[in-house]
Assembly symmetry: C2
Homo-oligomer: 230 residues x 2
């Protein structure tokens, strides 16, 4: 049976950009499961499946509805244990949580601020109003002011990626010789940036950029099905 994936999109529904939804897109592809992507704008997320979640992704798999990219990955591994694992055992599940928190607290804050205005410009009018209001409260300043220092902060951001960069001298993926959900966690953040903003955060020869390109190639180049922002 085809799994239904509810995924965030802006005015152009052919360019879904949510980092967390991209984690689930690659998770479903990794498991080799059939899935249908259904886009929702920010202001309609709360109405999905009777209001089960304030955020996407949400999947429906037959009678089962599961929100949250990490919970979805766990659900998929439990439900389809004969398909390729997303975690590579219990140690991989536990460590993926550390990597999720690292990505969320190290990678997301800079990228989210750097792309904030670009994301806003991708949204439909009613979503723009919601987005401006919620993000201006979060950042404590006007939307237009948030990305202003992205050039100044870029070198420091690149330095925070050093653990990932250094790890890539040992192995091609966070998952080891092949990718796991831990890769999709960090991939989601850079894919969000790639689709929403023309601002280049990585130098082309950065091992992190080379790893990201490798992730874009996975599962038949699924990540490249949406072009980079120009």
């Amino acid at each position: 049976m085809t799994i239904l994936l509810y995924e965030l999109a802006g005015a152009d529904t052919s360019r879904p950009f949510s980092p967390h939804c991209w984690k689930t897109v690659l998770s479903l592809a990794h498991k080799g499961l059939d899935f249908e992507r259904r886009t929702v704008p920010f202001t309609r997320v709360g109405a999905i499946e009777g209001g089960i979640s304030r955020t996407v992704p949400v999947i429906r798999d037959g009678d089962k509805v599961v929100p949250d990219s990490f919970s979805i990955a766990l659900y998929l591994d439990e439900t389809y244990p004969t398909r390729p694992s997303l975690f590579g055992g219990p140690g991989g599940i536990a460590a993926a949580r550390f990597i999720e928190r690292w990505s969320q607290l190290t990678v997301h804050p800079y990228l989210g601020a750097a792309a904030l205005l670009d994301i806003h410009s991708m949204l439909a009018a009613e979503d723009q109003a919601y987005f401006r209001d919620s993000r201006e409260k979060r950042f404590g300043k006007r939307l237009e002011e948030v990305p202003l220092d992205r050039e100044r902060r870029l070198a420091a951001f690149r330095a925070t990626l050093e653990p990932l960069r250094s790890m890539l001298a040992y192995q091609p993926f966070i998952g080891g010789a092949s990718p796991l959900f831990a890769d999709y966690i960090v991939f989601g953040a850079f894919q969000w940036m790639r689709i929403s903003s023309p601002f280049q955060v990585l130098l082309a020869d950065d091992p992190v950029a080379v790893w990201f390109e490798r992730c874009l190639d996975l599962h038949g180049g699924l990540g490249r099905s949406v072009s980079a922002a120009t």
Copy 2:
């Protein structure tokens, strides 16, 4: 057969402090293996087992000699597969490398600088000469100057621990419900600090401090067998 562990020590051989050796001490205890700890000063590390390594830990297990804490953990899991795993599967092995790089590049630089003079004062005279020379080259300044800004940099250091702190809201160990080598990696760094310096880097109610205390309790309180520096 008893495994022999070569471990770094200063003038007082009852207070081994090396972060990497502590990783291996807990790894051996985790596997429930008998081991004998043999201390070596900095200046005699290169002579161990015919000069197999420039660094410790090194273990001898019968005919097999293995250097490097990560390689030792892999060796122990491969050689003693029926004893508790140090990695919890292939995903755990791969992710442990990320955590090692994170610890080495985020936790070690600050702690190593903050405790530098304290470590120097623990060493025997000939080791002090080697240590001063090698560390002054590495830091590009006099040993006495390196820890001077540790108070000023402390808040920023604590902030870099946020991924670990945030993960601890989900699970008690990096390994999940129970510890794995990934925990011993980060434990080693804080144990190094605890044994060599009275400088307190963590507030007592910091979840990272609570996790560290939990690690000190493991394997019969093995980490507490050396008292904190005063």
